[in-house]
Amino acid sequence: MIATPKASAPHMPDSADPASAYVRIANVTKKFGDFVAVDDVSLDIRRGEIFCLLGGSGSGKTTLLRMLAGFERPSAGTIYIDGADMSAIPPYERPVNMMFQSYALFPHMSVEKNVAFGLEQEHLGRDAIRHQVGEILDIVKMGAFGARKPHQLSGGQRQRVALARALVKRPKLLLLDEPLAALDKKLREHTQFELLNIQQRLGVTFIVVTHDQEEAMTLGQRLGVMNHGRIAQVGTPSDIYESPATRFVADFIGSVNMFEGQVSDEGADFVRIQCAELGCQVHAERGSGCARGATVWTAIRPEKIHLSRQSAGNGAAPAENAVRGTVREIAYMGDMSVYLVQIDSGKMVRVTLPNVTRGGERPIIREERVWLSWHGSSPVVLTE
Amino acid sequence: MRLTQSAGRRLVAGVPILWLLVLFLIPFIIVFRISFSEVRLAIPPYTPLISWRHGTPSLEVHTSAYAFLFTDPLYVSSYLYSLKVAAVSTVCCLLIGYPMAYAIARAGAATRPVLLMLIVLPFWTSFLLRVYAWIGLLKNNGVINNVLLYLGVIHHPLALLQTDFAVYIGIVYSYLPFMILPLYANLEKHDPALLEAAADLGARPLRAFLAITLPQSLAGIVAGALLVFIPAVGEYVIPTLLGRTDQLMIGRVLSDEFFENRDWPVASAVAILILLLLVIPIMLFQRTQRSELEASR
């Protein structure tokens, strides 16, 4: 664990008062036979925020979502929504609505009937229903498609109907299961911003489950990274990206270069690490709380590494935070290039640089000897 | 009326369970009980379970029905004959049905539904009438004999009716769709790329079939075989219309004991023994049904 200015500690709720957290997941565990899908998870979600649960398959995120919806019962622990204990409450009595990954539109009903279904369960008058259905369909821009059946709609249209159906009841909580997974790239970006718009307009609390980090980083105001049924870290996207709490999180989000080393010197706001893998000393400008001699891992993001032909120092080899290597592979991605550099210890380091200049100075080519260097604020020191 | 979810569930599951308990399971218990009584001239025509002698109740259990079955060679031979006929018919059904199912599974997507419909259509017409049709074909002045006589292949009509052969034909004919459908359902799921890979590695068609297709289709073979064998053991209509008069199958024996001899205890004992013979195949069938449904989840 590292102490940094803005990161929130992963496992403790933000406030002690249960009523202030809109959704409180308290020590929830779910077992299927011997398999533990969700392992003692505690999480607080604030009213009106967009919270993303991010994790790979098998991480437990979908199970957690289904427990919030009421389709699974926790083996242990409690879920509170707006202060109310949801343990005994079946899904059709919860103030929660879900947008399914497959959209789950009723194939034998028209768009209007699909959206009206939830309102009909509340026994509203026909006029009231028609009015609310029309309103929500306009918000998702599907007002002209009311009479169509789901198989007459495209994928993007179906998704909007699914969203309308889930929002028309103005639930306290909207759960979204991989909302952008079935869409192609262009549509995905467009839909992302639409979702954000709608959420702001209606003020509904969103909980999104996804395995796609880009989706999570774009949509989420706060993220919870899950691994093997546990929460690895909770925080804002920049917290998680810049200050990952564990090696798993650092590796899961974006790409990262990871080096093992021993603490050679440490203080309140710095730590020096002797790194054989890297072949140099690392000087990180933050305290790590680790004892001298302890084994730690240094994580440096590819975009934080500077690549140049000359060393940073005046001719002399710098003592720390720099290392020499040979460029092995270059991948040209248009807006940036990815360089795979083999440093003298043999390890491959990934460096990304934006392609700022056109023509101009001679570009770096393969097999060139280069210097890799980084600022002292870039390395993140991890103990687990 | 608002039911809780668990009360509603109990109702949904409970009604069919209750119905089947009363109308399917309990009757077997009654058959079992009657098999241990003796026939007598009364209504009902069997001895009661508890009889009162000098004011005290005593349990009347007679094993005479079973003793009768085990000692009289007629019954033993009927059981064995039934098993033999059912087994032979099942094998024939498999040998004929497997290639047919295979051909349908390999057919183009457009012809497959047509072929399946052709296989199933006879099933929707009357079973009784289709068996009856074979009488017209097999009897001494029936179609087959007439054609063969006309062509000069034979000079006297063949005795085709009332033979083992006629029963085999009857059973295979009637139960063929039951063999083909599970086999087809299984074969349809096979990946043709596996056979192509085998050919690519040098396997001749027969070898590829034996090594790849046959083992994968085992589940379908078992299901189809059980669907034919188990009911065939107790068949009544086919042996009565087409079969021998000197050697009866056990279904006919049971019916005769009940209707002709009015010997309910012996008929019940016959039934119980058939059940004992078939209990393992029936459980096997239930197991394959369960795993089929689990696999498709």
């Binding site: 009421g70 389709f71 079946p90 059709y92 009595e93 929660v96 609505n97 399914f100 990954q101 539109l105 279904f117 369960q121 509340e122 198989h151 007459q152 495209s154 159906r165 009841k169 | 599951a13 009604v15 069919p16 369970i17 109308l23 399917f24 009757p27 058959v31 290639p99 051909a103 419909m117 052709l118 259509l121 079973f127 009784l128 009438l129 289709r130 009856y132 049709a133 017209g136 074909l137 002045n141 179609v143 056979l195 079939f209 059980l226 188990i230 009911p231 107790g234 009544y236 279904g251 049971l254 019916s255 009940f258 039934a271 029936i282 069938f285 239930q286 049904q289 449904l293 498709s296 989840r297």
Partner: protein, 282 residues
């Protein structure tokens, strides 16, 4: 590869011939004038006289009417019971009595009919001893027996349809506030209706056609069509039965043809809709 396909295809053709020759021979000889059913009386055939005889045969008509009524009742009740059982087995997970229900719905499918028939009759006799009902065997006992073995088939059909069903539709309905009964009536049932319909048809056919079980549980006054046919054919071939068989084959074949055409039409409409939606796009 080729030899395998050729062998299989030959077997298929021969098999289909084997399946249809008896049916075709019945149809052909139903138009035969001769009472010796399989000897073609070229001089006076083809003739419709057996069809006329059939239609004016009181015994057969009465039996057919009874069979139809029993089959209608049995199929309808079997569909209700079978759907309940199918729902329970497909949706309720593990519950006390699941194994029992699963066993009792698969056993009747393979159980030899003589055993089922005997056991049901003995049950009715025992019931009569115990509570005085049923008062003798007849249409009611036949119907009860038919419902019992037909519901097993319906259960299998419904259960396999439900197992392949997209459960997220039912979850979505519950999520939107619908209680389980509403979910079933408004979402599940409309979508499994084709399976239920085919289950009903299956049950109807099985009941209409049943002989052995019916023989056990029928009374002197209630003869179903199969019973009448059986008593006639036990002692030889009769030509009016050929006419009956032909009628049945025609009814079934046209039913299947109509339903195939109907399904093709719906499939074409669906494909057209999908194409339109894709073309319009977003």
């Amino acid at each position: 590869m080729r030899s395998r396909a050729l062998f299989a295809r030959t077997a298929l053709v021969l098999g289909l011939v084997f399946l249809y020759v008896p049916i075709l021979s019945m149809i052909v000889f139903s138009f035969n004038n001769s009472r010796l059913v399989t000897v073609w009386d070229a001089a006076h055939s083809p003739t419709l006289k057996w069809y006329v005889a059939l239609v004016s045969n009181e015994q057969i008509l009465r039996a057919a009417w009874l069979s139809i009524r029993i089959a209608l009742i049995a199929a309808s009740c079997a569909v209700v019971l079978g759907t309940l059982a199918g729902m329970a087995l497909a949706r309720f997970g593990a519950f006390r009595g699941r194994l029992l229900l699963a066993g009792m719905t698969t056993a009747p499918i393979v159980m030899p009919e003589v055993i089922t028939g005997l056991s049901l009759l003995l049950l009715f006799v025992a019931l009569q001893q115990l509570i005085g009902w049923p008062r003798g065997v007849g249409a009611v006992t036949i119907a009860l027996a038919h419902i019992t073995f037909c519901m097993a088939y319906v259960t299998v059909v419904v259960q396999s349809r439900l197992t392949g069903f997209d459960e997220s539709l039912e979850e979505a309905a519950m999520d939107l506030g619908a209680r389980p009964l509403v979910v079933f009536l408004r979402v599940t049932l409309p979508l499994i209706l084709p399976a239920i319909a085919s289950g009903w048809l299956l049950a109807f056919t099985l009941s209409w056609d049943d002989l052995v079980i019916t023989q056990f549980v029928a009374g002197p006054g209630s003869s179903t069509l199969p019973m009448v046919i059986f008593s006639k054919v036990r002692f030889g071939v009769t030509p009016d039965i050929n006419a009956l068989a032909t009628i049945m084959v025609l009814v079934v074949a046209s039913g299947i043809a109509i339903s195939t055409v109907w399904m093709r039409y719906r499939q074409k409409r669906r494909e057209r809709d999908l194409q339109l939606a894709a073309a319009a796009n977003l």
